[in-house]
Amino acid sequence: MEAKVSPQKFIVPIGPQHPALKEPGHFEFTVEGEIITGATVRLGYVHRGIEKSTEDRNWVQNLYLLERICGICSHIHATAYVLGVEALANVTAPPRAQAIRTLVCELERIHSHMLWLGVAAHEGGFDTLFMYSWRDRETVMDLLEGLSGNRVNYSVNVLGGVKIDVDEKQAATIRKGIDFLEGRTQYYMKVVTTDETFLGRTRNVGTMTYDQADALAAVGPTARASGIARDVRADAPYVAYPDFPIKVITERGGDLAARFVVRINELYESYRLVREILDKLPVGELTTRVPRRIPENEAISRVEAPRGELFYYLKSNGTEKPERIKVRTPSICNWATVMNFAIGLKLADMPMILAGIDPCFSCSDRAVIINRKSQSQEWSWEDLRQYGIKYYR
């Protein structure tokens, strides 16, 4: 973690190697006196040049590449890509395929939210909740494995439809699993809203007000926790969401505790959706034909990933290979929001805000080099935190 010291730069290097899990990032703030005037983030440790690789693979191979952008929400990436290609070739998948896609989308949302719940608790040192939530997450992983044969990267989608079918026996096991999970979620809701030490770490931490979130284009649960009713499943319903409408869940608080509550309420919403889809699963075949060469065209497909809005732009030039595929993942939105949300705030608030917005970013400890005009001191994260506490005493 070499420290790049240049005037007016206040560098928070987050080590690429992190004990728990998260992707490595690298923050840089510009400080004038107490107020932060500029903040930026630098990725790079996880950049695999995917958009360039899509240009030398044909449409079918790209499906397997784009599924592996993110291990936790691989199905949503595949769905967005497949919807885009079907729009390019103006083909629509049969209703049964759309419903199965929605079913797996919701199961993946349950899986992702429970994972985040465990990891966020682990970040705060609450390992028992981490163990419990990841033990219960195994149930939804079994359901997904029963459906698609793989715990992660289930590759259920095919251009023009789905590869798997849901028979009555599988539907029964899914319903049983969902009932068990619903019971457990009530327990988590109780823990998250009543446990004193947990609330001590999450209440009014990293609060983002409604207009701040609106002005900075926040997406996903982070936006909904600040009161913005923005959810692509409701605004621009795709796959089978038009026939299975969802209720957008928003919270007022805008702090980390509100984000926990929003995500757990979304779990309830997903359980309801899964049951509804299983009851009213349309009958019909599973795929339609999609030509190998997609005619020259442009398409945009937006889907709601567990962490926010996922944006795909596809351009075809009539050959077997796409001309351009642009993927804008929700985390870039979250980071962009945070970087600008930090401007104008006091240096002393930074530890809370960084830990608050998305626990997956409060990675390993941050060494902070503060460049006041005259000299640059090297503070540790702890000094920054003590500075914050002293500042407010």
Partner: protein
């Protein structure tokens, strides 16, 4: 029960060195097993701590550049020595303490906090950011739980009228359990013990997700092994102290085993119940609640004695 064995053997083998290290490992195993069971995991096998220690002893020792090498090597040894000497004054395994003199309670507590001091110094000694931060956290936490823990142990000392651990032990054995007469003192003592051993909710100094592993980040091989054994020994001594004072003294090994295991169960339960407190929260909690409550308990005891004398 007092058995007369020549001091050398007592020091090296029986209640002293090897046996104590062994019991430290056993208690660490019990702790990891209980916490795992609470998180309904299977937990490690019985010889796990022993395997960990031997493996660490057999590993390559890396001394850092930019670190004072003598200090780097000496600190773990001093830490373990402090912990072992503290064991002499405590009635280990229900036998009489080997050496005891008036005021050995203070010496024992001093030696135990020497142990934490050494790991704090070890962290401050190295260049690596994480260990410096770990060191500051260890030392801030040391100052925060030391006072209430001492006050909590003073209660029984005043009631027993002496500062000698073995006398307090005999007093506790003969009278009603002090946990009944001084419940608050007992609670503060148990929580103080968890603070001293840096068990979770108070494990900010070595928070794995925040500062890699705190003050001991740079240690590997022998240094780390010595620190870990030191912490295990400190664990056993802490348990015996609190049991000797509050749970009606230690008559014989069986009673000792029973009571310490019960206390071990309580601490393991508390460990898996709470999230890790931020360092400023722990310090705040100790000074605002811990110290005050311990003081109130102390006053209650003194007033009680005073009234007792008048009637």
């Amino acid at each position: 029960m007092n058995i007369s064995i020549s001091p050398l053997i007592a020091l090296l083998f029986f209640p002293g060195g090897i046996f104590l290290l062994g019991s430290g490992l056993v208690y660490e195993y019990i702790d990891r097993k209980l916490v795992a069971q609470f998180q309904n995991r299977v937990g490690p096998r019985w010889f796990q701590p022993l395997a960990d220690i031997i493996k660490l002893l057999a590993k390559e020792e890396i001394t850092l550049a930019g670190v004072n090498p003598q200090l780097f090597v000496a600190l773990p040894v001093v830490a373990l020595a402090a912990a072992l000497t503290a064991a002499l004054y405590v009635p280990m395994f229900g036998f009489q303490a080997m050496f005891s003199f008036r005021g050995d309670l203070v010496v024992t507590l001093y030696l135990l906090s020497m142990m934490t001091l050494c790991s704090g110094l070890a962290g401050a000694n190295s260049v690596d950011r994480f260990s410096i931060i770990g060191a500051t956290r260890t030392l801030t936490q040391l100052f925060s739980y030391e006072a209430p823990f001492l006050l909590a142990l003073l209660g029984p000392a005043i009631v027993a009228g002496t500062w000698q651990i073995s006398d307090i032990n005999t007093y506790a054995m003969s009278h009603t359990w002090l946990i009944l007469t001084q419940p608050i003192g007992f609670i503060v003592a148990v929580i103080g013990l968890m603070g001293k051993l840096e068990l979770p909710p108070f494990d900010a100094p070595e928070a794995e997700t925040e500062i890699v592993s705190g003050a001991l980040t740079e240690y590997s091989g022998r240094g780390l092994a010595l620190f870990r054994i030191g912490k295990d020994v400190e664990l056993v001594i802490g348990l015996t102290l609190v049991v000797a004072f509050y749970l009606g003294g230690l008559g014989n090994p069986l009673v000792f085993l029973l009571k310490t295991l019960v206390l071990r169960l309580v601490t393991a339960g508390l460990q898996s119940l709470f999230a890790r407190l931020r360092i400023d929260q722990t310090v705040g909690m100790w000074w605002r609640i811990g110290a005050l409550v311990a003081l109130v308990q102390l006053l209650a005891v003194i007033i009680g004695l005073f009234i007792g004398k008048i009637i």
